[in-house]
């Protein structure tokens, strides 16, 4: 079981979560996100969008970013979500996987493979999607205004 670090900040407008890079953590992650956005009167549809984006980034890190990193060396993934009064949602996603810029155009999918829609969904659902490498960390900044 991961440490349950939830830090409501700035009058509960910011949710900070750290998760182990394991698929089993996704259920806990989405529960925390649903509670956070439900309290802020976000619709189910908009909440699902945000959960989807963060799940796709998490799954991508687990499957690819940490693929060649030994289990004991995999650092936690950090997710910070901020909801402004103007209903702008900002996401800060940080991992210590291999350097990878998901905002760059992807090579076409290998013939016969199934998958690869996750990042496409992220790009289509968010208004802003930026990447930077800082030391050993991949840092993604995403945002979308809902009203």
């Amino acid at each position: 079981m991961a440490d349950d670090k939830v830090h409501p900040l700035e009058e509960k407008r910011v949710l900070k979560i750290e998760i182990l890079p394991e698929f089993s953590e996704i259920t806990r992650l989405t529960h925390l996100l649903r509670d956070f956005f439900c309290e802020r009167n976000f619709s189910v549809s908009h909440t699902n969008e945000i959960c989807l984006v963060i799940e796709e980034l998490t799954a991508n890190t687990i499957m690819h970013g940490y693929k060649d990193v030994a289990l004991q060396n995999r650092e936690k993934i950090s997710v910070e979500v901020e909801c402004s009064e103007a209903k702008k949602v900002s996401i800060l996603f940080k991992d210590a996987g291999v350097s990878f810029d998901p905002t760059l155009p992807r090579l076409s999918r290998e013939e016969g493979t199934i998958g690869g829609w996750g990042l496409m969904l992220v790009k289509k659902l968010m208004h802003s999607f930026k990447y930077e490498r800082s030391g050993k960390y991949n840092i993604l900044k995403l945002s979308k205004k809902y009203w």
Binding site: V44, N48, G115
Partner: protein, 110 residues
């Protein structure tokens, strides 16, 4: 995520409830594959109680569809919630699957 099974007019209908995501997609794929192996390759997926799907869930449905096609069967999806339909639309899946509004319309496709 829960999957329940029933037979309607000889067609296997699976109802998927809850969320279909990266945490449960392997279990869902096995459950649906088992149903196809046991009951035959004509399948309706009733998604009326599916509240959330991610790309891991889309992948499961595509893998099952390919399996069914290889067995000369047919898959129809019905009763999608608004959230799930949106993911199908933006991923392009709406154009590659037979989507019906309700179970009766789905049954009429066989």
């Amino acid at each position: 995520m829960e999957i329940s099974k029933e037979k309607r007019n000889g067609i296997t209908c699976l109802r998927i409830e809850g969320s279909l995501d990266a945490s449960n997609s392997s279990a869902a794929e096995k459950s649906i594959r088992d149903a196809v192996a046991e009951e035959g390759a004509n399948l309706i997926l009733n998604l009326s109680e599916l509240q959330y799907i991610s790309s891991a869930g889309l992948r499961v449905i595509l893998v099952i569809a390919k399996d069914i096609k290889s067995k000369n069967g047919k898959i129809v999806l019905c009763s999608m919630t608004e959230s799930v339909k949106k993911v199908f639309d933006i991923s392009g899946f709406s154009s590659i699957f037979d989507l019906q509004d309700n179970i009766e319309a789905a049954l009429s496709r066989f």
